[in-house]
Symmetry: C2
């Protein structure tokens, strides 16, 4: 096949890190922060902190290099009152608990030195209540110069009651919605977007971008980010098909939950905990036979332009879903198969931290446990599969570029090609022997 020139993020192996939970360390040669934090291995809580830092992520770059990781997606790192840091307090400061701006600087340097890109999580639809402009409005009411920064329905703000008198994300008073049509707000957010790209970040994952129902904002966002770095990656958190966002004027890609549903439906089979998935954004995942699965894939691969298909953030789970092994009721073989498929399909395979060692956990906050670093406690085999697939992918660039072509799809059995390669998948617990008519299917 011919090699297509691709952006770094097309087909790159992403690894998602939830910073409070990955590794706790101080700056090189200095002690780790002491908190007070909750114990690393205690069941995670909605409000508790375990004290992971960006210094810690940097210290674990060799682990990620060994795994074959090519890019990091960091859950939010800016100053926030929440352990997940989606309640932004200051968009221009890395959270001091994570090590502050110096720690992000260090992480970027170490990651880049190892060829690993880093994208940040941008939460631009709403702020936390602790954000400067909101606090200003809370204290000063209509006399605040920030009075047009939010959608206020009355003063004084009642920010600490269940019925806020301002627009908030899903009515949650903790998350007042920013008014992006106010020029100062828009300029502020675009300035933030540009600032961190110039700081060295390689792109943005955008939190709930569909809530900002102003395509011009996202077009301006793209111009600003790509103006600072034409190679920056912009990936939106859109849980469904996202044609509107992927025309080339807004995002490079979306988080490919539709693909996750398809893979889990095909690979999960009897093992899949449908009740558990049904209580999340994944929805109740219906089992799929190979042909239905392939049709879903073909739909996803044909509805977008090829560069979008290559750039889609293909994931199985995230901080917003139960963990893979838990969804599969502990079936490590199916977890390996699902992850293997991720690396063999077009798009950017994305692994949620700990997925590769079999971390378990149901709903938030259980799915955000402290990473396990003792090899002896890792679930055997999954990590080895990921590592092998990642290497294969690096050695064979057509696995990034070549389209998906179905060869065979019957019951639990699927065969497809990616350029010169044939992939055969057996999603049943039984041996599978089959001759395929490959005439014309391979180059």
């Amino acid at each position: 096949g011919t090699l297509v020139p691709v952006a770094w993020y097309e087909g790159a192996f992403f690894y998602q890190v939830f910073p409070d939970r990955f590794f706790r360390a101080g700056p090189p040669g200095k002690p780790a922060p002491t908190g007070p934090f909750e114990p690393w291995e205690a069941p995670p809580t909605l409000r508790g902190f375990k004290g992971g830092t960006l210094w810690g992520v940097a210290e674990k770059i060799p682990y990620l290099v060994d795994l074959g990781v090519e890019a990091l997606y960091l859950n939010p790192v800016f100053a926030s009152t929440a352990n997940h840091r989606y309640h932004t307090v200051d968009y221009l400061q890395v959270d001091p608990v994570l090590g502050g701006n110096a720690a992000l600087r260090h992480l970027l340097e170490v990651a880049h030195a190892h060829g690993i890109r880093v994208i940040l999580d941008g939460v631009f639809n709403h702020t936390g209540r602790g954000f400067f402009a909101f606090q200003h409005l809370l204290e000063n009411g209509p006399e605040s110069p920030y009075r047009d920064w939010y959608y206020v329905k009355g003063f004084p703000l009642n920010a600490y009651s269940p019925h806020p008198n301002y627009e908030a994300w899903w009515g949650n008073p903790e998350l007042p919605k920013l008014r992006v049509e106010t020029p100062a707000v828009r300029e502020y957010l675009l300035g933030v977007a540009e600032h961190w790209i110039r700081f060295g970040a390689d792109g943005w994952r955008l939190d709930v971008p569909n809530e900002i129902q102003d395509p011009e904002f996202w077009r301006a966002f793209r111009r600003r980010v790509k103006g600072a770095n034409p190679e920056a990656y912009i990936v939106g958190e859109i849980w469904e098909e996202a044609d509107f966002w992927l025309q080339g004027d807004m995002f490079d890609a979306t988080m490919n939950y539709p693909l996750a549903r398809a893979v889990l439906g095909f690979v999960g089979g009897e093992a899949l905990d449908q009740e558990l998935s049904g209580r999340t954004g994944l929805g109740r995942i219906e089992p799929l036979q190979a042909l239905a699965f392939s049709h879903r894939l073909e739909n996803l691969f044909s509805r977008y332009r090829p560069e979008v298909v290559r750039a889609q953030m293909n994931l199985l789970t995230s901080h917003d879903t139960p963990r893979l092994l838990t969804l599969l009721r502990g079936d490590a073989d199916r977890a390996r198969l699902a992850l293997s498929l991720l690396f063999l399909l077009p798009g950017s395979p994305t692994v949620y931290y700990g997925e590769e060692v079999g971390l378990e956990g149901g709903h938030d906050p259980e799915n955000r446990g402290g990473m396990i670093w003792e090899e002896g406690r890792w679930k055997k085999g999954i990590r080895e599969s990921v590592k092998r697939l990642a290497r294969l992918r690096k050695e064979r660039p057509e696995l990034r570029t070549a389209p998906y072509t179905r060869i065979y799809a019957v019951d639990g059995h699927l065969a497809f090609t990616r350029g010169p390669y044939l992939v055969v998948v057996n999603a049943t617990p039984f041996p599978f022997r089959q001759d395929f008519p490959l005439h014309g299917a391979l180059p």
Copy 2:
């Protein structure tokens, strides 16, 4: 007389600026911020903003040079929800409404280029409710790693009721008191103190330092600040005699309200609005005859070491008192006389912005009006006196260094020497002719 080597702040002419109210301007060549702000000349309100900026202060440096100013004392400039900015939200960011860190950088450059020093206002006893650590605690309760940053009596915090369950300045829930004995808090505050000195500030005015009842904190503060710049000036807001703070291990000086009371008592006479002063930290000011006045001065000048006397921030009014002309019921001659005395006594004469042009105003917020920039509306004569006295002081360094010696003090008449100079004061409305026996009084 012999010249004593003195620090820059000993006897320097300070000018206090309330940043929201001095001058509104954008960066050089760019438009001023548009707010929304309240009209510049409308009566100031407790919560309203007029949009003065540090760009604006920088633009008015030529005015200050012309007046003879040698140092600026800026009311707080860090991000805050209050127009006075004593409710700190972020100690490491200049308020964006003031122009942000870039505006302070610019002001420091312009001021320094004109030989004018700049000291900042440090509010370390308490924070605003919007401060990061407080918001963290408010949202997360005892699970926050900041749980030892305040004096919390119960969770959840009830921060928006009149009866906070945490220690607060004068019980005001808006101003939670920091727990400086927590090592992380102490290190944070000392880091802030050092940061801005290294940034280029020439010293700190400390807000309510007596509320931090831990002399070791202030000793560490001094070491940290003087370590960064041995010439930095540290002046505490202590409203009474301050022997404890002025032993050389904590502050260089205090805001000399006791001297203000004495000068106003002597010069104010019948004009003084005692009821008005009585409702402020000045207290009810009793009229003083010359001898009683001189005794007060002699007490203030003898109780501290000479370098402290020279460094005392001698003021008549501030953002915490009614304005001079209002206290004197509009008597501009007495205002001129009071200001003249300030420049002829040992210590650092400090003028509150607008005092020199006769700005009027009673209690907060009236005493914080927008500066008047139209010459035609200035009260005649006061500014010329200040300017003349400032020049005199610059030309005759003994006015900074020489001690005060009483020569004559009867009724409303006072004469004293400062080294080779004789000062004769007539605080009555009537002419005054008197021969003084100067034998031995002058060198």
